[in-house]
């Protein structure tokens, strides 16, 4: 079970039911549950999309695409059934927020799916959970059953004359499946290989039908937009970045945890005030601001607001909200290696630049960290990563390359310190060698 934390700076919109027993449908109803969907039915499809656009909600999975706009891309008339897909394949290292939503407020996800369905004229939604989250699948299954029992799902929901079904579905361990088209392949019972786009999922998605796929946190935010109003929701955040989001603080920070903070909240404040600073008298070396695929920021670069635009301007990405804090004892070469080991393991192997690039980078970094590096390796690592950028069907190649380039550019001296067969100069780190996964 995931632990809950609290801080006075938190603005609990999405998480206001956490810890209040809202997995129970009656409790959820008591806590303003299923009021948003009733309002949405009153607004109709165009009204829903307009409200979503007003809210300024941007995708919480990482790309930060405006959700209302994404929904508006689904054609009104379609020959095939339309679908709503919840991406709950949370697996970006540093990210553990969707877990809390499914664990504490599963009905908010269902409500979000129904509203999305109303917006695009879909009759069926799928909630895809990563395979490791089995206990959450049970929670989700019960929530869906309870919603059917109340008549919130199935035929003629809320007396609207509309039908809507929701199915929960389990994955089986694959980071790549968090990519939207790979997730559709997986849901169709296949290997999670990305699809070539265009056509985009809004036109040709799951089972060939127009599909909207959103991160679980994005869809769980939707009912709150209708509960408090799109304009009010937008005001909670910063310019062009509506609302709040769940930030997962982890790593070398005194009070790690998942905190709901306004979009645009200052990163330095997040680490030092919300997170209680760096423990053990150490100082800050770097921050990975949005999950492992986001380029690391140096300690001097963190006085920025945490929204998609400001973090982008600082040369990184807000990503999935996984804020990983590194103190001054961390060996950045080892950190780069561990990051690359992950991407090498998770590359689906479909595109050559990603499959070969991650493997070469892992091998080079492994040798380099072990003291077998030569000076030209440093530029080679950067060159290899640079050549992966933008050359793959899906963003996994970029996700591996971008942080690697930043590690070399920002911590070149640490790479140089590993040259000439010297042992890792940051030898505090466990010598428990990184055993091949």
């Amino acid at each position: 079970m995931a632990y809950l934390v609290s801080h006075p700076d938190e603005v609990k919109v999405l998480s206001f039911r956490f810890g209040k027993g809202a997995t129970d449908i009656d409790k959820y109803l008591e806590l303003d549950g299923y009021t948003a969907v009733r309002k949405a039915i009153g607004l109709g499809a165009e009204g829903i999309i307009a409200e979503m656009k007003t809210s300024g909600l941007r995708g919480r999975g990482g790309a930060g695409f405006p959700t209302g706009l994404k929904w508006s891309f689904v054609p009104k008339q379609a020959q095939k059934p339309k679908y709503v897909l919840v991406n709950g394949d949370e697996s970006e290292p540093g990210t553990c927020k969707d877990r809390l939503i499914f664990e504490h407020d599963p009905h908010s996800v269902i409500e979000g799916v129904i509203i999305a369905g109303l917006a695009i004229g879909s009759k069926m939604g799928f909630i895809y959970l990563r395979g490791e989250y089995r206990y959450l699948l049970k929670i989700m299954e019960k929530a869906i059953d309870d919603a059917y029992a109340k008549g919130f799902l199935g035929k003629n929901i809320f007396g609207s004359g509309l039908d809507f079904d929701v199915i929960s579905h389990t994955g089986a361990g694959a980071y790549e499946v968090g990519e939207e088209s790979a997730l559709m392949e997986s849901l169709e019972g296949k290997r999670g290989i990305p699809r070539i786009r265009p056509p985009f999922p809004a036109v040709v998605g799951l089972y060939g039908g127009p599909t909207i796929i959103n991160n679980a946190e994005t869809l769980a935010s939707v009912p709150h937009i209708f509960r408090i109003g799109g304009a009010e929701y937008a005001k909670l955040g910063s310019e062009r970045n509506g609302g709040t989001r769940l930030f997962c603080l982890s790593g070398n920070v005194a009070k790690p945890g998942v905190y709901e903070l306004p979009m645009g909240y200052n990163l330095k404040k997040m680490i030092y005030e919300v997170g209680g600073g760096i423990p053990n008298g150490r100082s800050l070396k770097a921050v990975v601001p949005g999950g492992s695929s986001c380029p690391a920021l140096l300690a001097k670069e963190i006085d920025i607001g945490m929204d998609f635009d400001q973090v982008g301007k600082a040369g990184s990405m807000l990503g999935s909200g996984g804020v990983v804090v590194l103190d001054d004892t961390v060996c950045m070469v080892e950190f780069a290696l561990r990051t690359m080991k992950f991407y090498q393991h998770e590359s689906c192997g479909w595109c050559i630049p990603c499959r070969e690039g991650t493997d070469w980078l892992k091998k080079t970094l492994t040798r380099f960290h072990a003291g077998g590096g030569v000076a030209k390796d440093i530029d080679n690592i950067r060159y290899l990563a640079q050549n992966m950028l933008g050359r793959t069907f899906c963003p996994l190649g970029d996700a591996a390359a971008m942080p690697t380039i930043a590690f070399v550019d920002k911590f070149r001296k640490e790479f140089e310190d590993h040259l000439d067969g010297k042992p890792c100069p940051y030898a505090h780190q466990p010598e428990a060698a990184l055993v091949g996964i």
Partner: protein, 164 residues
């Protein structure tokens, strides 16, 4: 498509599978959950499991194997009764995930992806399991154990040992 006669699954699981293939717009969508639930009951994806799942979905055994080899949670060989999966990805690494894995190896006397001779425990180093804010973390089968130390890990292992 007629459902094959159930040969290896418990009646409850067979009934679940009978329903699972009907709920999706496409029968094959049931494949991944079906394989995982079969693995939970049988322990691994044996030849028999693959054969029967293929028949139930109406695809070839090769199609099934093609999927199995892609997903980390699927395995075609038995593991221990309690499969200990220690995360060493970045958030866990920063808080002692590597030491925790080394400790488990020492305590269980086995290496990565090995099983104890009594078949009670097996060990695997895994990628991020979504417990970053409660690192370091491990999963034993599907159960999460978080904010672990070598001492608390010992207690976790002892608790599972006591269940056997």
């Amino acid at each position: 498509m007629s459902t094959p006669i159930n040969t290896i699954f418990s009646p409850a699981l067979a009934a679940r599978f009978d329903r699972l293939v009907t709920i999706y717009p496409m029968r094959r969508s049931a494949l991944i959950p079906m394989l995982l639930y079969a693995q939970d009951e049988v322990g691994y994806l044996s030849e028999q499991v693959i054969s029967e799942v293929a028949a139930r979905i109406g695809i070839t055994e090769l199609d099934v194997r093609d999927v199995i080899t892609y997903y980390s949670l699927m395995r075609t060989h038995p593991v221990g009764k309690y499969h200990v999966q220690v995360c060493t990805n970045i958030s866990c690494m920063l808080r002692g995930g590597n030491e925790l894995l080394a400790h488990c190896k020492h305590r269980l006397g086995i290496g990565n992806k090995e099983t104890t001779p009594d078949k009670v425990f097996s060990l695997e180093e895994v990628e991020c399991i979504g417990a970053c804010s409660w690192a370091p973390a491990a999963q034993v089968n599907y159960d999460f154990h978080e904010n672990l130390t070598p001492d608390s890990m010992d207690k976790v292992l002892a608790d599972y040992r006591a269940r056997t």
